[in-house]
């Protein structure tokens, strides 16, 4: 299974939430809603900044430790992006529902009974959906960011971008990176055994995918016809621009 389909994005499709997004890529699909700034419960509220509440729901069944782990990673990453100091005593609620996960043809596994490495590989999709929903909810942020997964195969082959479950299983390590549009590292989670050099290679590939290209570089890339991989930052920009254009058509 190779991932040839372009990412699929729908913004602001749920009318009752302040912002929402659906995003599917590499076999994973996630729907997110964002509400905020809303009133935090008295016992939770922080006097000087807003709190971020991330809820991850699996494709089937109720969430467990695995989802709590993903929530804590996402929460600590998103806290760096949202301007929390502008909303003391408030709450931003981000709910993420996984709607589909890629099937592993080699293992007859139940839905969402994944190993810890597969647990990591859903993280970029969750993160990307959360960012799109935050943009749709017009939550004030410092910048936008994107995430991706890299797998290093056991046979020392070239690193794989957005690996399939089978590729994850047969790889020696997988890495999840999130970068801001400006190219600052936000999140780095790795699983398996790897050397510093392998990590560096994975880091550089992920940075290339997540960081926004300068205008001139994009033109050069188009000329070379090498833009096979989807740049995540460009995707967010294109979707947000489309939404803004349709929102402001009364202008």
């Amino acid at each position: 299974m190779t991932i040839s389909a372009a990412p699929d994005v729908v913004l602001d499709h749920l009318s009752k939430a302040d912002g929402s997004a659906s995003y599917s890529y590499a076999g994973y699909a996630v729907t997110a809603t964002v509400n905020g700034p809303i009133e935090a419960q008295r016992r939770d509220e922080q006097p000087f900044e807003a709190i971020v509440d991330v809820i991850v729901r699996p494709a089937a069944g109720v969430g467990g430790t695995r989802e709590r782990h993903l929530e804590s990673i996402l929460c600590s990453t998103l806290r760096h992006l949202i301007l929390l100091k502008n909303f003391p005593r408030q709450l931003f609620q981000i709910a993420l529902q996984i709607t589909s996960v890629p099937e592993n043809d080699y293992v007859n596994s139940k839905l969402m009974q994944a190993s810890s490495s597969q647990n990591l590989s859903v993280l970029p999709t969750l993160f990307q959906t959360a960012i799109l929903a935050l943009v749709s909810a017009a939550v004030p942020m410092k910048t936008t960011a994107s995430a991706t997964t890299i797998a290093i195969p056991k046979d020392y082959g070239s690193p794989l971008l957005n690996p399939t479950p089978r590729q994850v299983q047969t790889s020696s390590s997988i890495h999840v990176f999130a970068f801001t549009r400006q190219g600052d590292l936000l999140l780095s989670q790795s699983d398996g055994s790897f050397s510093q050099d392998e990590w560096d290679v994975a880091h550089d590939i992920a940075k290339d995918v997540c960081m926004e290209k300068k205008r001139e570089e994009v033109d050069v890339m188009l000329d070379d016809d090498e833009s096979q991989t989807q740049n995540m930052a460009d995707l967010i920009r294109a979707e947000a621009q489309m939404k803004t254009d349709s929102d402001l058509h009364w202008k």
Binding site: S15, G19, Q90, V135, A137, A138, P140, I236, D247
Partner: protein
């Protein structure tokens, strides 16, 4: 000088030549922008940047999200309860209540203050919006002591619209040529009053209940389906034909 309505994402660099400069007036930053000393101005939301050289101001236009109160906005609130010398007023769902002092109405004394029950609607101005404090509302102009149209809203109905449409509706006709649905309904001979709150609530009343509902439906349809002027005409025509 860059074009008006330039699209930005949070954290984009705004070309310094685009930021207006005025020899005397200070630069005014509108919604969606933040200033990081000494001299960078960054957008915090995705939208289009507009400037006004005369007022020396720059801001980001966007639609969507939740209403965040800012001073001098006129909003429609719903009374939650009365305690002590204040009413607690809801201006956005699940947000903290705003406070409206009992004496912040035109020409009231402690004896003659309006008795508002939970659920009553008020049209009020945001008197104080500070992130560390409760939002304060008032239904009277502090300088003139006049209500200027603010106060309790009786009868009628409230419809929820997007923040962008509420902003369009509260603009003058000259600036807002593409939302014509209310003008069309008025020209068709319907009698109604409209009060637009910046918090995405529109109160319609003053006429028969059927007409109120009709106007509300025309407005919410225009909002939900993003109708342009032509489509608004069609909506109005269809609703009016059903009215007979």
């Amino acid at each position: 000088m860059a074009e008006e309505g330039l699209f930005v994402l949070p954290g984009d660099l705004i070309d310094p030549s685009f930021i207006p400069s005025h020899p005397k007036k200070p630069l005014r930053l509108g919604p969606g922008l933040r200033h990081i000393p000494p001299n960078s101005i960054l957008p915090t939301v995705s939208g289009q940047v507009y400037t006004d050289n005369r007022k020396n101001s720059i801001w980001v236009e966007y639609n969507g999200g939740r209403y965040v109160p800012s001073t001098n906005d006129q909003v429609i609130g719903q009374i939650q309860r009365s305690a002590g010398e204040h009413y607690y007023v809801n201006i956005a769902p699940y947000a903290s209540n705003a406070v409206l002092p009992h004496l912040a109405f035109e020409g009231v004394t402690k004896k003659t203050r309006p008795q508002l029950n939970p659920g009553a609607l008020v049209y009020a101005r945001v008197a104080l919006a500070h992130k560390h404090m409760d939002v304060e509302l008032e239904c009277v102009s502090p300088s003139t002591g006049k209500a200027d149209g603010l106060g309790p809203l009786v009868d009628g109905m409230v419809f929820n619209v997007s923040l962008g449409l509420a902003r369009r509706l509260s603009m003058s006709k000259k600036e807002n040529s593409k939302v014509i649905v209310l003008d069309l309904l008025g020209d068709a001979g319907l009698v109604f009053e409209v009060v637009v709150g910046r918090n995405g609530r529109v109160w319609i009343g003053g006429g028969s209940v059927a007409d109120t509902v009709l106007v509300g439906r025309a407005l919410t349809q225009t909002d939900e389906e993003d109708h342009g002027p032509e489509a608004q005409k069609n909506v109005v025509r269809r609703l009016l034909s059903e009215r007979k």
